[in-house]
């Protein structure tokens, strides 16, 4: 090899190796927002699955955090871990008190972080603190409104928490079978989004659809005729439990999207 040959090859290598190439992908920060869908309000009442016409006057959801994951788990029935087994591609580990009746974008307090990978599953963390700590009693859902069916009117309100009240009994040999985190994390929310630099993550919450299977007539009314949802599963009516189920439904309630 001549010197000229070496110089040429070295120059070529310098060009081809000197900070050229990539490990693939991207990582960046992004803004995150929550908003309601605008349905189920007085202006745009919704009809529930049980035939109630629903007009919400208050629907606040405490969102503890958002996550997007590459993988949709095939089965989580026996899984006791809080998080999904795949790789997370986006996160907004900050809380937002979301007014689900407003279609305005409501910003999360800090920027989220993402990698530019396709996400197939989302998580909505409904927690006010440590997702593993049962003692947290943050109000996760605060709703009020009017449901009508066949001329019957059901003005209602209710709050739901996810804490010790949601702990389920377990066999003594499997004390960790049903950790509280599994109650607090709505997962897997179907998603097929790829974070892109410059776009914002928007979580849309359709609060009205939480009431799809709520039989308002099962609720107890107070002296003022106001119906209440019960936050204690041990005494709650099926209507209250169905609202809780609706709050935690992985499909139909929550939707992830990246928008300009």
């Amino acid at each position: 090899m001549t010197s000229a040959f070496h110089v040429t090859l070295a120059s070529a290598l310098l060009l081809t190796t000197g900070c050229v190439g990539t490990t693939g992908g991207d990582t960046f920060s992004f803004e995150a927002f929550g908003r309601g869908t605008g349905t189920g309000t007085a202006d745009s009442p919704a009809v529930t699955g049980l035939g109630y016409t629903l007009a919400l006057t208050r629907a606040k959801v405490h969102v503890g955090a958002l996550y997007l994951n590459r993988v949709t788990p095939t089965s989580v029935s026996s899984d006791t871990t809080c998080t999904l087994p795949g790789v997370y591609v986006a996160e907004v580990p900050f809380a937002l008190e979301l007014d689900a009746l407003s279609t305005e974008r409501q910003p999360f307090p800090s920027l989220g972080q993402a990698t530019a990978d396709l996400a197939e599953a989302g998580e909505v963390w409904l927690t006010g603190g440590d997702v593993n700590d049962p003692s947290d009693s943050t109000i996760i859902l605060d709703v009020a409104g009017l449901a009508e069916r066949d001329g019957a009117r059901f003005p209602f309100e209710g709050t739901l928490t996810i804490g010790e009240n949601r702990l389920e009994p377990t066999p003594p040999e499997l004390p960790g079978l049903k950790p509280i985190c599994k109650e607090r994390i709505v997962s897997p929310v179907p998603a097929h989004v790829t974070p892109e630099r410059g776009l914002a993550l928007v979580l849309s919450v359709d609060a009205a659809r939480m009431f799809s299977n709520v039989e308002f007539s099962e609720l107890a009314a107070d002296a003022n005729g106001l119906y209440h949802f019960d936050d204690d599963p041990s005494t709650a009516t099926p209507a209250s439990e169905n609202l809780y189920i609706g709050l935690r439904a992985a499909t139909g309630i929550y939707d992830f999207g990246f928008e300009p």
Partner: protein
């Protein structure tokens, strides 16, 4: 060098022999050997009345590394009077010692002493014209049969004829390993010891393409990047010290973990760094290459060195090296401590290394050595970059102050090298006891998953508490012979390597709140064996062509006793629920089983290796090399009777080297193009706290290196460009630097003034490093790194005062950068961070170190 043959009696031939011993010669030596140069005239006063003719006494002299003569042999005893006088005179001679790659070594040379007859006053016969005058101590060699200047009294001549050059040079010392081409770097430290280095590992930077990081603390082995490889803490680079292995087989933190901190830097004579698996002597872990530290001490006498420096750094070093003994006979011990820069970087360590090299007759040398070392330290670990950017943590802070470790190493070794006829025999035995505890937390509060059998819990903390204890016994040996064929010298070497390791490895997770272990993840007792044999030939069909290579085969045997074989059960016994215990004694349905299980397996690997050398042509040698290497795997991967999944490497390279010795110095310049492929590369897993097996990778690149050595200047510089990519995707391998530039410079000179009749000696050292922006996961790039380290020293008689400044520019740089998932919450209720984020280990800021040393005795 025992294989040197007499090739002549003239200085020209002697010089040729020296060049033959140098890199790129027809003997394919990579080393530069310079014969000793006499400083005294080879004459002596007549013991009695002078004769009317010269009397010549042929001698074989043994010249020490300090240039003095330690032994005189009479090759043709004659008149005892003259023999006695000649021997007495020769013992007073001084030489510039023989140099092997710039390092003084003991040597044996043929010479002769003359009693010169007085010139006859009347000249009946024609007298040749006198030669031009020469300096009184000219090292210019002359033929031994050259005549003295006529008309002078040779016995009393103050300006004598030039001394006789040796007709044969036999360097006394160990036969070096034959060269394997342009990537076989034999690097004497020499004057470059003046360049500041934190420890002996940093001497690796004298070889091209080496970049070191350390996120584990001062007592933790450096992470070594070598020519496009992330060799981790030794998993991909075979490290030895005078052939004694350093890599720890079965170390849970990384199979092959090599902590070189036990090496006292002042006791390192040089390194052989072979970048690639091209030598059949290279064994396990020689994937990226290998390094062998040659230990010794040139500074003879008793030396004490005290150092004080920034951040409470204190170090005391004592060394001793008896005058007249081999440079490989030495002792040294040190104790050091530092508070460390920033948070949680305090360290203490102490160590001792000693060796005696003796001779058993003229053809046999032996060495006995011992090493002791212990350390304790804390580590800052890695910081999330977003924590620093937000001001939550400072650049030199720590995210978990419980990180750190302890370590110890005790070893003894002995070897013997002997020449018997045409055979060169070598045998070494070693015994090593190594202990290590390591506490690291890369991920914060992330990995404590809830199991159904466990009581409900929050994240308790990911701090790993790992302990490894290892006892190693082993040996290596070879026999080399040679013979003439095709009119050239041919060589054959057969050798073996064997080691057994008894290893206990325990890894637990520590609860941050209480500091107690809450989970045992791994608990292994392993008996490991590695036996390798090889054949290595050197064929020289032509004077300018050498094919050197052979084949090596290694057998790896694993016997692993897993003391924690079961850590979960899907249907536990209702009567005896396992609870939070880690190592369970029941299986599905609650059926009893013992918590341990043993697995054993074995595998072999055959590895051809060859180097083709062309030249030298005008001091230029071309080389082509091919080799395969292997890295055994972690015992935790062992499954009964399933062949161990080796990681294999195939390396090819083409190189050229220019080596030449001038009157004023020597120069070696190299250029190497290389390509290496690994079928199962290791990928760092922050969740495991260690590297795990990944896919195949390929590296292509170029290395350029140069070394210029003279009495005034010693310069070693190198550049490496490399592209490392995954085979399946073509994407870059993360963390590996693609541009590494390094320069080490030392200047030495007597200062131009005298104090009390003695000229102080001054020296300067400068080390410059540039590392390009390394590829990080998710298409990211790290920052570049550029650092300068300098030193200045003045030596006056027995004292030396040295000031070292590291990171002269005080650049705030990130030494190591990683992208991975961690969760160090700002408060107890914060939602976890689950997306990969940038983490880094801070490089040290500018630091000052002042050392005062004193040497008693010596030469």
């Amino acid at each position: 060098m025992h294989f040197s043959r007499p090739i002549g009696s003239t200085s020209r031939l002697a010089l040729a022999l020296g060049l033959c011993l140098a890199f790129g010669s027809t003997r394919a030596r990579a080393q530069t050997v310079t014969p000793p140069v006499p400083l005294d005239p080879p004459t002596a006063p007549w013991p009695g009345p002078p004769e009317d003719h010269d009397i010549t006494v042929p001698l074989v002299l043994t010249v020490r590394a300090d240039g003095s003569v330690s032994a005189v042999e009479l090759t043709a005893p004659g008149d005892p009077t003259y023999d006695f006088a000649a021997r007495a005179r020769a013992l007073t001679w001084h030489f510039t010692p023989a140099l092997r790659d710039g390092v003084p070594v003991a040597s044996r040379i043929r010479s002769e002493l003359r009693f010169l007859a007085p010139a006859p006053s009347p000249a009946p016969a024609p007298v040749p014209p006198p030669p031009p005058p020469t300096p009184s101590t000219s090292p210019t060699p002359s033929a031994p049969d050259s005549d003295p200047a006529p008309g002078s009294d040779p016995a009393l001549d103050s300006d004598p004829a030039p001394p006789a050059a040796p007709s044969e040079v036999v360097v006394v010392g160990r036969a070096p390993a034959p060269s394997r081409g342009a990537s076989d770097f034999r690097t004497p430290v020499g004057a470059l010891a003046r360049v500041p280095r934190k420890n002996a590992t940093e001497l690796l930077k004298l070889a091209p393409g080496v970049f070191l990081t350390n996120e584990g603390g001062d007592g933790h082995a450096e992470r070594i990047y070598l020519r496009g490889f992330d060799a981790r803490e030794g998993q991909d680079i075979e490290a030895t010290v005078d052939h004694v292995p350093v890599n720890e087989s079965g170390n849970l933190h990384g199979n092959g973990y090599a902590d070189l901190h036990f090496i006292i830097p002042e006791l390192v004579l040089g390194l052989r760094v072979l970048e690639g698996p091209f030598d059949p002597r290279q064994g396990n872990y020689a994937v990226a290459g290998s390094v062998d530290y040659e230990m010794g001490l040139r500074e003879r006498g008793l030396t004490t060195k005290l150092t004080l420096g920034s951040y409470g750094t204190q170090r005391a070093l004592v060394t001793w090296a008896p005058t007249g003994e081999s440079v490989h006979t030495y002792g040294g011990a040190e104790i050091a401590q530092s508070d460390g820069f920033g948070q949680n970087r305090d360290t203490k360590h102490g160590g001792a290394m000693a060796q005696y090299e003796g001779r058993l007759g003229p053809k046999t040398t032996f060495r006995v050595s011992g090493t002791a070392y212990a350390n304790t330290y804390h580590s800052a670990g890695l910081l999330r970059a977003d924590d620093v950017a937000s001001g939550r943590r400072g650049f030199y802070d720590t995210a978990d102050p419980n990180q750190g470790g302890d370590g110890s190493r005790f070893q003894v070794a002995t070897d013997i090298e002997s020449r018997a006829g045409d055979f060169l025999l070598y045998q070494q035995l070693f015994a090593i006891r190594r202990g290590m505890r390591l506490r690291e937390n890369f991920t914060g509060f992330l990995l404590d998953s809830q199991e159904a059998i466990q009581e409900p819990h929050t994240q308790r903390g990911d701090l790993i508490d790992m302990h490894v204890a290892e006892s190693t016994l082993g040996g290596r040996g070879w026999a080399r012979t040679h013979g003439s064929l095709f009119g050239h010298d041919q060589e054959l070497e057969l050798g073996y390597f064997a080691r057994t390791d008894a290893v206990t490895a325990l890894q637990q997770r520590i609860a941050a709140a209480s500091g107690v272990p809450y989970r045992t993840e791994t608990n292994l007792e392993s008996d490991l064996a590695d036996i390798g044999i090889y054949a290595d030939i050197a064929l020289r069909p032509l004077g300018w062509l050498t094919l050197r290579g052979g084949v090596r085969s290694d057998l790896f045997v694993y016997d692993v006793h897993d003391l924690c074989a079961v850590d979960d059960v899907s249907l536990p016994s209702p009567d005896h629920p396992p609870g939070d215990a880690s190592c369970l004694d029941q299986q599905r349905g609650g059926e009893h089983r013992e918590p341990d299980q043993r697995s054993s397996t074995a595998s072999t690997k055959l590895m051809p290796r060859a180097t083709l050398l062309f030249g030298p042509f005008q001091h230029v040698t071309f080389s082509l090399a091919y080799g395969e290497g292997v890295r055994s795997i972690d015992p935790s991967y062992i499954t009964q009777d399933v062949a161990t999944p080796f990681a294999s490497v195939v390396a090819q390279e083409a190189g050229v080297a220019y080596a030449h010795t001038f009157d004023t110095g020597s120069v070696i310049v190299r250029s190497v193009f290389f390509r290496t492929h690994v079928d199962k590369d290791l990928v760092f897993s922050e969740t495991e706290g260690r590297s795990v097996l990944g896919g195949g990778t390929t590296r292509t690149g170029w290395t350029g290196a140069a070394r210029f050595t003279s009495g005034l200047l010693d310069e070693n510089a190198n550049v490496t460009l490399v592209r490392s990519a995954f085979d399946d995707t073509g994407l870059l391998v993360p963390y590996v630097p693609d541009i590494v530039v390094r320069s080490d410079t030392a200047l030495n000179a007597d200062l131009p003034f005298a104090v009390a009749g003695y000229e102080p000696h001054g020296s300067l050292g400068l080390g410059a490093s540039y590392v390009g922006r390394r590829a990080l996961p998710y298409g990211q790039r790290s920052d570049t790194i550029f650092t300068l380290d300098g030193s200045a020293a003045v030596r006056y008689r027995m004292f030396e005062l040295e000031l070292e400044v590291t990171n002269l520019l005080n650049t705030q740089h990130k030494l190591a950068e990683y992208d991975f998932v961690s969760n160090f919450p700002a408060n107890a209720g914060a939602a976890p961070t689950l997306v990969p984020a940038r983490h880094f280990a801070a490089g040290p800021p500018r630091m000052f170190f002042l050392s005062l040393s004193a040497t008693l005795g010596g030469s």
